[in-house]
Symmetry: C2
Amino acid sequence: MRTSPLLEQLMDALRCLPGVGPKSAQRMAFSLLQRNRQGGLQLADVLGKAMTEIGHCRDCRTFTEEDVCAICDNPRRLENGQICVVESPADIMAVEATGQFSGRYFVLMGHLSPLDGIGPSDIGLDVLEYRLQNEPIAELILATNPTVEGEATAHFIAELCQAYQVPATRIAHGVPVGGELELVDGTTLSHSLAGRQKLY
Amino acid sequence: MRTSPLLEQLMDALRCLPGVGPKSAQRMAFSLLQRNRQGGLQLADVLGKAMTEIGHCRDCRTFTEEDVCAICDNPRRLENGQICVVESPADIMAVEATGQFSGRYFVLMGHLSPLDGIGPSDIGLDVLEYRLQNEPIAELILATNPTVEGEATAHFIAELCQAYQVPATRIAHGVPVGGELELVDGTTLSHSLAGRQKLY
Ligand SMILES: [Zn+2]
Ligand SMILES: [Zn+2]
């Protein structure tokens, strides 16, 4: 729009959001300018802070602005000695929403993908190995996605568990094969947790 | 997500964008944090600036960070004496994209809607009336949306034109009745401009 270079910049910048094309970027920019400048300013402020301050939990690797996240820092989540391994922070939210799990998490932030050059240390398996070696872990629940890569990653971690004599389980295939964990409904995910199978 | 209050704030703040619910807000936040923090910082910066600095053109009311927008400020757009009246800045972009119009614009930023308490001065008709009175205007092209409110607004403005002896035309109904101007394809909009009818 020749009338405002700044508005053009805003529409361009909004396209860094997933699923936002030129038409929705325009609708978003106009909507904020016309009806919600306070909301826009608030978003600008929080977004800047979040991009700068949010890092990864030292223990579980999930997103947090603290050194250690609130779940890892909670002594009651340590009691049952369970650690649930997931691919992404969104999966933590999905598992938490079932109310069926009271242990801690470990977030891979991805999965093994040799063709893309993503190896064990890229998904934090060095950190996880250190924990397997040094912490009393009663059970490692492998809740990676039921995809080819997720399965391969789960089996790789199961072998790591075997090396350190830590019991490893895989969540049951109540979740649809080929799907994504964070899109599964709570009931299915509960069944899936309850029916987990011992791998080692 | 109990692990990061700042992340929760970010997901809340993203919902000020039209069409963004809890699931897409979460996907957006994770995507920026995991893959594009630079893009997120850039968006925060541009968004803050845009919300603060973008105002309305003194002459045509469209969005601009200048006092007068680049179209109103261009002497060549003054030559044919035409002013195209549209409901929103998005409509300017749609008309510009046809390449069929070289005059100036006037943006109502809405339409008359007595039931919602939106009267003539809320859509800048006092400013427009001042221009009708004081500028040599060859033709006012009424390009409000082909909706009930858009038609009513066009007829109200046509009466204003009659009072000041300024020729007013209405774009042809090549555009689908009940639709929104900014969603119409360029060819249809070109036909619609070419087939405009004299109202007074
Ligand atoms: Zn943690
Ligand atoms: Zn202007």
